[in-house]
Subunit: 324 residues, 2 copies
């Protein structure tokens, strides 16, 4: 069935009837705006990410369910990086007139599955025709007590640098997809990343983390944001970078460039005072999330990379600039 | 200067340095998410609208400043329709790689001028490359006391139907632009609509309005939303539709079809009990905003249109469905 047969308001009805009620939503889908209220003592954290066909995803290898999951996941990862719990989201879609309603249904199945997993309620958005491919824009809202919110600007000289999970998987997965591979853990990490929502909130609540960000642009770029906003430097020992077995099998002779600059891993990168490493690692172990110490915060400038023998390491490229 | 020379982070810095601080913003641009808090006793109202090149705007006749103004204005109009005062907004842009930075600067000049006029602070968003034209997605946040929020679902049988300003101007302006006309009041109404923010909040605070919506899809379509969600009908007398002199000069023999179905006027359409018309009209007169009574709410279904002699009137088309 083509979208034109269902119409804009038919599409909105199809979506709206699947949305549960929730106490954080004072006024849901159906009015000019939704009404929300954070829990007592909390502020609302809010973030937006846009995904464009041909830039952020390729429909020749993104299935609609995974695309729906990822579209929301990348927004929830931004909330996780602040230590916030997701509460609501708005979804705006620019849809080619020829798109099949079944594609939208499967896309929404992915969006709403991720929403259920992490406790986010769809409260609004927009739908419109697109003359230029599928356009997805999501705004996600979460909440946290203001004194617990974790910012990029709070790293201190001497802090240890931690990262969850493994690095480079999503970038390696993209390369595999472009070469025709359609399954495996690396491909899954690219197509359906998991936002570290529980870990982000637990780290914020625990109180021993200074600065936090999610690894979306690439480790060097994102750690660089922490350095710039905190007025500090960082050194990273490349042999400490957490690399998966699957990644090591495909990454070639030098495993570090993609792990340092490949984006979209959506892991948490954070700093805490030395002496807190046992607390951090014990907390993350309880959550079942591998966490590694990869370096420390210095009184220098920018991110410096070192080899095991103490000599400087220079990667081929650093970070992802959308217009570079 | 091309965007590629400035880069993504350079662009964000260019924008961020122009944003003022405000007490409603706990945490502004620069982190993974912004932090906001409504005033005591208020809820947050939130709405998103997407504008796509070739669908919502045509760069051959939209100048960048007006486009910036309109992109935010259509979102603020949704807040106005709830009776909410604007507080913050997020802006996501998909930008063709070849776009001139000067275009973006002028576009932002328009966005931020409208933001200043209505008290909205830019707190975040996203920027990315687009392979298919300019993509604009805005999420606007406002606030109001929950008991004062005006919904589509609160119209009651016997209510009078009011509309601010004049109808059909924006649709007529679009037709003129497509025929090569580049100035005049109708063209201005299409390119740079004014959201009825002060009037929306004043009507909510006054307490005598039942249901409200903004006229974005067209009068019949938007009044139809009120009817559907309130479980009522409405009758409108076409000769009572407020039409501007400029509109009457260009609308041809039958002035009503475009006034009934042309969208984008961004006027407020609302209902109030009979007996309140003096209060409504006095309030709107104090705000300097022409307001007309065009019909009433019935116990029927849908919107019925009548001529002065009491006979039914049938317009050529009703409302704007993006996929119809």
């Amino acid at each position: 069935m083509k979208l034109a047969e269902v119409g804009e308001f038919g599409l909105i009805r199809r979506i709206a009837e699947k949305i549960p009620a929730h106490r954080s939503v004072v006024l849901g889908i159906g009015d000019d705006a939704a009404g929300i209220l954070p829990s007592a003592g909390c502020i609302t954290l809010i973030t937006s990410d846009m995904l464009l066909e041909g830039v952020h995803f390729d429909l020749s290898f993104s299935d609609p369910i995974s695309l729906g999951r990822k579209s929301l996941a990348v927004n929830l990862s931004d909330l996780a990086a602040m230590g916030a719990l997701p509460r609501q989201f708005l979804l705006s879609l620019g849809l080619p007139r020829s798109i099949e309603v079944e594609f939208i249904d499967r896309f929404m199945e992915g969006v709403l599955a991720t929403a259920r997993s992490y406790g986010a309620i769809l409260v609004g958005g927009d739908t419109c025709a697109s003359k230029s491919g599928l356009v997805i824009s999501i705004t996600a809202l979460g909440e946290q007590r203001p004194e617990r919110v974790l910012k990029r600007s709070a790293a201190r000289v001497g802090d240890l640098v931690f990262v969850t999970g493994t690095l480079g998987d999503a970038a390696a997965g993209l390369e595999l997809l472009q070469r025709g591979v359609r399954e495996g853990r690396l491909v899954d990490r690219q197509l359906a990343p998991e936002p570290r929502v529980a870990a982000g909130a637990a780290l914020a609540d625990a109180g021993f983390v200074h600065a936090m960000i999610d690894v979306s642009d690439g480790l060097v770029s994102d750690l660089g944001h922490i350095c710039e906003l905190s007025g500090v430097g960082a050194k990273v020992e490349v042999e400490l970078l957490p690399l998966s077995e699957e990644y090591r099998r495909v990454c070639g002779a030098d495993p570090y460039p993609l792990a340092l600059s490949g984006g979209e891993d959506y892991e948490l990168l954070f700093t805490a005072a030395p002496g807190q490493e046992k607390n951090v690692l014990a907390l993350m172990q309880r959550l079942g999330l591998q966490t590694s110490i990869i370096g420390e915060i210095t009184d220098g400038k920018g991110v410096e990379l070192f080899r095991p023998d103490g000599s400087p390491y220079s990667p081929a490229k650093s970070g992802f600039d959308h217009f570079g």
